[in-house]
Homo-oligomer: 589 residues x 2
């Protein structure tokens, strides 16, 4: 071993010991006669001392040949520092060097390896092994490791078995696009990489394994966004003989355990919100409930007063921003611009200021709005009552087609949450969203798709609506949402062959297609399939959330860029003609 | 929850409680008035009791509609059994039923779901979800889960971080054949699935992570054998600032911890054997040292006595089989046939019986051999001394080209070990084999290949032999061998750019090829790479070994057959033309 101790463990108690340390040169301060070197490894930083005249000449000379990021092995005595550094655990000691060995030199890194680096994204991705030396990234991966350890500990205690499912599986057209793998031994045929181990975990329930989990890589060949990677990690789980409550209880147990163990935060029992309410009050199936500002619908008080825009709207809906009545003309214009951005697409925004007593004393009344032409002070007072608005508050109102305006107001609500600093990264507000629709209409393919996936069971009470009102059928499906992020989702599955067939029919599969793609699962249901259900949590997002960030890339050791490339290893890349020949493939020109 | 208890937990203490159980019907005994049902789940079996006349008629009727593998939910009272079954933990009680609900029916399984099943391999693979219900497979996957938990516990305690490395990486021609993944977003380019995370774990050491591990799937597109799967799992590890001893100590710690924790077996300190000795004394780089029967070389005493076959041989070498002097003509002929099998390929076998006193009293002397024509009793006595042979023993001798005859004698030794029952599956004899050659000559490509991989460091003392006698250069490489199975291997890596370049040159890479394929690693070595080394253990094999089997397939939930097919899901399979078009691929006819 090239060390007797790490760079993070020596204390005053060790004074007088001769030690050997190895690590990277973080910093050198050469004050003429005295040279200090900060030596770094994963565990910390230890200060090395060299004193010209007293320290052996070879060591002095060697130290003058060092540069940042050199890897060295040093020997010396632990001594008490004259000027202590209370900011680091080793700050009371330093090492009085007797030898230095250079284990490896280093060129000057292409960007600074400090907490705040000067390197751009692509440069840091190319030299990821250097970027990973920076403390914030090291802490992120350490957090990831800790969360995976604690996740397994919790699930092991709950009698879950971790069971590995295969990575080389079968391509199916349902869902997102598969990555495929040509098979050399089976000409013209392909494996697919799993988008999730869904069918396998269900088969494990059929096989009687009762409680399954796996921290598992999944793959989706989708166009990438900032928070998406072609490969990502899931905490994938399934339980037999359960109903929805059992799954919610088990996994809110996990969430609370992780917050307690890893962050020492006590999370109260998770609220359960119906999908319909989430849409009605937050305009989103992943509401951020760190703050209120719930939607208030105004149709009954705002329509039929001569304001055509509201009168023609399916929904008039707004939020109350506490204490914002003092927003300037400019601030309000900026908000209007915000909701008019093409990504949001509102036509305009109505505001009503509920003036403070002081403000209203200088004005004509208590309310000042962008629609004063159409509404009396009395009218606006009824609005304020609906909003539970107080003097000093600001009401922001949008209108339009129900589904559209809810999405727009969701964006405005989140923006106001940001402006009012109500979305703190060290506050965590998890909840369950339940009773999702079973199906959603897809305009492109002109058919219904499974909102969760085709194995999700409809609510027993709603099955009779499948033919007449498919869009109204609710599923035994649930999402775990934390701080406006969908951390996971799952469902109670279908375990009956006939119901599964019916479901495939409603999704537009012919019997033959269903049998060809999912015959193995439907056959399995004929041999004693138990009721079962499960959940999958996005591990990358969960770790990023715990780390207080929304960029999953900073929590993945070797992520890909937005073109799906690993710029460090330069992949993907061309393969040889011999490889293509063996696989019986041609590339189209 | 469809149960208050599992089928494995009720005891006499629970008598009098009303309980709900769910599970599979394992067995029904209908003795007219009395019906017993064995209800099974992952946790055990509980007996259910139905008594015509006393039990409610609906329950009696329902029970007569049940068949094997039906999934049912029952209610009833826990009562003491009149005739107890000491073989199962729930054997003192039974459930006096008050209700039965059929949760799912089952067709008759295509093979019996008992410990010894009547199903053939392909049939059981097709219905893997049923085969997995059998106890032996359930125990195998439970063992696998336990070993992964304990492996992580040990490595976590030793301050290793589990860090996930990517699955979509870059294809390189070195080593085995890659599985490749066409990239839709990068036309004509491919990712490769990792054969191991080798370069990534080395980069993590460059990045300062100090101790890395990962239980990780790896992929090799090789023609399959019984103990190979296209995807397999590794315990993959790397450590910085270490020398070979540190790695051996850390991982023999893991091995001993696993044996102690999982099997309660104390493993003594592992012997360390040089590769050269393993070949000399066992004819194998993975010697089975559960038994002795070490090779003895006889050139000096067996040559130049007129026996042309020995005289012309590079090596005359044999083993001593204790107590086998009573082998019959027929038994000896069978052994000769064994070594003559084409897979082994010896031309013949020489035997020498060291007769017991009783046998020799009836004979002309103490030794009886197949070469009595050429060797005197005196000659054979000198052989016996070399073998440390005793009266009653049998010496078996082969001759020929050194490398060939050693391999042949290795097979014979293992066969004798089997015949003498010296290879018990509940005895474990791990050891380290060290000092492997760095390079091995490949006849097909007429060049040297890296025996371990191109990142393995040569022994410092041997570097000067690289040009003149490359075959003699030893590597800082080691294998963990248990019971004749290579469970893992690793090496101290090269961490110096120039030495790595030299190594690539000796492996026949041009500078350009080396840079194109491994430039990222060599560049990384320029920024302060620490000395480092690691190991990878084959997890499937390790689990199978712990389970006392050599078939890894029984320890994998969903394995592939020898053609790389998953016959259950029928994969690989054809993909749609639309998918091929998106990937810009044609299939050659």
């Amino acid at each position: 071993m090239h060390r007797t101790h790490t760079c993070g463990e020596l204390r005053l108690d060790n004074a007088g010991q001769e030690v050997t340390l190895s690590g990277w040169v973080q910093r050198i301060r050469d004050k003429g006669g005295l040279i200090w070197i900060d030596l770094r490894d994963r565990y910390g930083i230890t200060q090395l001392l060299i004193e010209e005249g007293r320290t052996n000449d070879d060591v002095v000379k060697a130290s003058r040949g060092l540069g940042r990021e050199f890897v060295i092995k040093v020997k010396g005595n632990v001594i008490e520092r004259s000027s202590k550094n209370p900011n680091i655990p080793t700050g009371e000691i330093e090492i009085d060097l007797s030898s230095i060995e250079i284990l490896n030199s280093s060129k000057t890194p292409p960007f600074t390896l400090e907490d705040n680096t000067d390197g751009g994204d692509e440069l840091r991705m190319k030299y990821r092994y250097l970027d990973l030396r920076r403390q914030p990234l090291r802490r992120n991966l350490e957090l990831r490791n800790r969360l995976s350890i604690e996740t397994r500990k919790y699930l092991d205690n709950e009698k879950f078995f971790e069971i590995e499912t295969p990575y080389l599986i079968k391509s199916t057209p349902e869902g997102a696009r598969d990555f495929v793998v040509p098979s050399r031994m089976n000409e013209g045929q392909f494996y697919a990489l799993p988008q999730s181990p869904q069918t396998f975990k269900q088969l494990l329930m059929v096989a009687g394994y009762d409680r399954y989990y796996q921290l598992v890589k999944c793959f989706r060949d989708e166009d990438l966004r900032a928070d998406r990677q072609p490969e990502f990690t899931q905490i994938d789980c399934e339980m037999a003989f359960v109903e929805q409550d059992d799954i919610l209880n088990t996994f809110e147990g996990l969430v609370r355990y992780l917050f307690k163990t890893v962050k020492n935060i006590d999370i109260p029992k998770l609220p359960i919100m119906e999908y319909a309410d989430a849409m009605k009050y937050y305009g989103s199936d992943k509401p951020d409930i760190r703050f209120g500002m719930k939607f208030v619908e105004l149709n009954d008080v705002a329509q039929n007063k001569g304001f055509a825009i509201f009168d023609s709207a399916e929904l008039v809906v707004g939020i109350n921003a506490e204490g914002c009545a003092n927003y300037s003309r400019k601030q309000l214009d900026k908000l209007t611009d915000f909701v008019r951005k093409p990504q949001i697409g509102a036509k305009g925004m109505v505001y009503v200021k509920y003036l403070s007593d002081e403000q209203s004393a200088n004005d004509d009344g208590s309310f000042k709005s962008s629609v004063d032409k159409f509404y009396s002070q009395e009218d606006l007072k009824t609005w304020a009552e609906k909003f539970d608005s107080k003097p000093g508050d600001l009401m922001l109102i949008l209108s339009g087609d129900k589904n559209t305006v809810r999405k727009q107001l969701n964006e405005l609500r989140l923006e106001m949450g940001n402006q009012l600093d109500l979305r703190k990264t060290d506050v965590f507000a998890p909840l369950w969203v339940v009773d999702f629709p079973l199906l959603e209409w897809d305009e492109d393919t002109k058919r219904f798709h499974a909102m969760h996936h085709p194995f999700t069971s409809p609510k027993a009470d709603d099955i009779n609506l499948l033919d007449e009102k498919p869009a109204e059928v609710r599923a035994n499906a649930y999402d775990l949402v934390i701080n406006g992020v969908e951390i996971g989702g799952g469902s109670i599955r279908i375990h009956d062959r006939d119901l599964q067939k019916l479901m495939f029919k409603h999704l537009g599969f012919t019997d033959e297609e269903a049998q060809e793609q999912f015959g193995f699962l439907m056959n399995a249901f004929e041999y004693g399939a138990p009721p079962h259900g499960g959940i999958a949590l996005g591990f990358d997002r969960l770790v990023a959330l715990f780390g207080g960030s929304d960029s999953i890339r900073d929590y993945i050791a070797f992520p890909k860029n937005n073109s799906g490339r690993d710029v460090m290893i330069d992949s993907p890349s061309e393969i040889s003609d011999a490889q293509l020949d063996e696989l019986m493939l041609n590339i189209k020109k």
